[in-house]
């Protein structure tokens, strides 16, 4: 086990615990940056989806993981970010302005939703945000002059800076050692990929810095006990609304990127199932950890591309066999994907409440402490239900 002896106050203020962490994340980032050189365009597209889901889940994590507010409405914020961004782009606003504006509008609506509802605890908030998600989806389909209604809204492709190993630009600036620098339309998955990485790093820094600040500490205090947080002088409504606003802002940013990823917006793309998927990412990745959002998103995207492959394999392999007909019908039934997500959700909550990142911590601690690792290090304290109605 690595003990960090703190000899200077600056150590408490650092973004990372020790230099080993910095090296680890540096390698991860370098691998991310190098991926398009090795992987094909299809995989870069999948990676885009992964990064976008990571960003959106990071936003949700600020509400769910850090502040303990269950939100079923983040599909709405994703949608608001996406539609705002697409609408502004269509009207000639530059990319670098319209993307944050989409996030800001999502954040503003998050605050507006939060103001009345955040006085209430857990379940009321979940239901209120659910209502907001459903209303937003209806508005997206009804307000055709802006959103295009059910016909959808095509996302304009802005020109954007890009660096690629091959010359494939509308306008090239210069090339250095085989790397070509120039403007490219954002249709190219590779250029979107680098923007996604930039936003992901930004979102992670927002979340990490938030957690180091008094504001973030207030969030965590509220999550752990509202009554004790209030007793320590934390204004519950103010901090909850702030948390919800920041959360919606980050998810809105992801929405702008998501608009480019799917390239044609329709109200159905932002249904309640997206909210559930984002929550699944948080639970599977590990509630209350920034790394969990990235891990959970990777898990979800891999699962989503694995299920159709499995379906085809099973259908091809067992198609003609009589006694396997039930199995073939099973894998081809509608709703299988959602059912697998649901089952995983239940299994993770019961057997791995700390998620994938928690499992990684456990494995790391096991080797750090070998052979002295105790299972009880991570055991949950036994707890009992007390009424929340008297809160």
């Amino acid at each position: 086990m690595r003990f960090v002896f703190k000899t200077r106050y600056e150590q408490d203020l650092r973004l990372w615990r020790h230099n080993g962490d910095l090296i680890g994340y540096g390698i991860f980032l370098a691998a991310l940056l190098a991926l398009p050189i090795f992987a094909g365009v299809y995989y870069v597209g999948e990676a885009n989806l992964w990064l976008i889901y990571s960003i959106a889940a990071m936003g949700l994590m600020i509400a769910v993981g850090f502040t303990g507010m269950a939100s079923l409405g983040h599909s709405a914020f994703l949608g608001i970010g996406a539609y705002t961004h697409a609408y502004l782009l269509q009207n000639g606003v530059p990319f670098l302005v319209s993307l944050p504006l989409g996030g800001l509008l999502a954040g503003a609506i998050g605050v507006a939703v939060g103001l009345p509802t955040l006085r209430m605890h857990g379940i009321y908030l979940a239901i209120a945000t659910l209502a907001v998600a459903l209303i937003t989806q209806e508005v997206m389909s009804k307000w055709s002059s802006v959103t295009g209604g059910f016909d959808g809204l095509p996302v304009a492709a802005p020109d954007f800076l890009s660096i690629q190993p091959e010359a494939m630009y509308q306008g090239e600036w210069f090339s250095v050692g085989g790397l070509h620098v120039g403007w490219v339309e954002l249709w190219s998955p590779v250029s979107l990929y680098y923007i996604c990485i930039a936003v992901l790093v930004l979102a992670a820094l927002i979340a990490r810095n938030l957690l180091r600040s008094p504001t973030g500490r207030a969030f965590v205090a509220i999550r752990d006990s509202e009554i004790s947080a209030q007793s320590m002088g934390i204004h519950l409504a103010y901090y909850k609304t702030t948390a919800f606003g920041i959360s919606a802002f980050v998810t809105g940013l992801a929405g702008g990127l998501f608009a480019h990823q799917i390239s044609h917006l329709a109200p159905d793309a932002f249904n309640i199932f997206i909210s559930i998927e984002l929550l699944l990412i948080c639970v599977v990745g590990g509630i209350g950890t920034i790394q969990g959002a990235v891990l959970g998103a990777a898990f979800l995207i891999m699962l989503r591309s694995f299920i159709p492959i499995m379906r085809d394999e099973v259908t091809a392999g067992a198609g003609g066999v009589e006694f396997l007909a039930g199995l073939v019908r099973f894998v081809n039934s509608p709703g299988l994907e959602a059912a697998i997500f649901g089952a995983l959700l239940v299994l993770f909550i019961i057997f791995e409440p700390m998620g994938l990142y928690g499992r990684w911590l456990k494995v790391k601690t096991y080797f750090d402490l070998f052979p002295l690792y105790k299972k009880s290090t991570f055991a949950r304290q036994k707890s009992y239900v007390k009424t929340e109605r008297l809160r």
Partner: protein
């Protein structure tokens, strides 16, 4: 038909729909009252009840009332086992985890039921299907009246159960403080499983009563639980009469806004009413909330 008759029939439709919402709301209010857990899979439990009734009545050709009774019994056992196998392990985890777990269970049920019965949609005949009752120059649908009457009877029974019987009071005690109830000799785990059983039984009754109103059901019928949630919040989450009244209010709002407003705005209206109630009177009509005295 003159306008008065239209409004009366809208009222009856809204009342019947509202009773269905009220019963679903009742299902999770029961669980919430007793165990402080919120069951987002209540609508899917109703769907499971309807599928089992379909299997018994349309599949095996049982008599309606016999099939109905058997469905309720099977669903009580199902709810009990659901608690024993899954939900009991979640006690003490944050409420959010339980919300997520029940959403997960809902997705699994929505897939498993049509797969198990190998149908996409179900329909079976009830004694009320297509019948009409003549009340003072008004023709009312028998299925809707049956839903209203059944709801009233069921609610009265459950209200008495919670107020007057030992088990009902024990359930309330277990809800207020699990540990204290345990010290008083209440078998808390068993009580929790029983309440899940009762709630699943209510869901089964709702599912069967829904049949003559909906005519055809598919697995996604469970989504109407979202409106039942709205009803429960409007009525005051955790209150049995509140669940019913809130459900009826939501049902009426839905029917009248469907008629009076442009098509497609009824859902927006329902959830706007929900948000408005949350802003103006967050504790609902029948308040169950109080401030904790430290």
């Amino acid at each position: 038909m003159d306008s008065v008759q239209i409004y009366i029939s809208l009222f009856v439709n809204g009342l019947a729909l509202g009773c269905i919402y009220g019963l679903i709301a009742l299902g999770f209010v029961l669980i919430y009252k007793a165990t402080e857990m919120v069951n987002f899979a209540q609508g899917d439990l109703m769907m499971v009840g309807a599928f089992i009734a379909f299997g018994l009545i349309a599949g095996f050709g049982l008599n309606f009332w016999l099939g109905f009774l058997l469905t309720v019994v099977l669903m009580i056992i199902f709810g009990f086992l659901l608690d024993v196998v899954v939900i009991r392990r979640l006690i003490g985890q944050p409420q959010f985890s339980i919300v997520m777990a029940t959403i997960g269970i809902g997705y699994v049920l929505r897939f498993v039921m049509p797969y198990a019965f190998n149908v996409e949609q179900i329909a079976f005949l009830t004694p009320f299907t297509g019948k009409a009752v003549q009340v003072a120059a008004m023709t009312l649908d028998a299925g809707k009246l049956a839903a209203v009457v059944g709801t009233l009877v069921l609610c009265a029974g459950l209200y008495m159960f919670f107020q007057r019987t030992r088990i009902g009071v024990a359930m309330q005690a277990a809800s207020q403080n699990q540990l204290a109830a345990y010290y008083m000799g209440i078998p808390v785990a068993l009580i929790f499983s029983l309440i899940w059983g009762i709630s699943a039984g209510v869901a089964a009754i709702t599912g069967v009563m829904m049949m003559p109103i909906a005519n055809v059901m598919d697995p996604s019928i469970g989504f109407i639980a979202i409106k039942a949630f709205a009803g429960a919040v409007v009525g005051g989450f955790g209150s049995i009469p509140g669940a019913l009244v809130g459900g009826i209010i939501i049902g009426l709002v839905e029917q009248f806004s469907d008629y009076l407003l442009a098509p497609g705005y009824k859902d927006i209206m329902v959830f706007s009413v929900l948000l408005a109630v949350m802003v103006v009177r967050p504790e609902g009509i029948f308040s169950q909330m109080g401030r904790k005295k430290v």
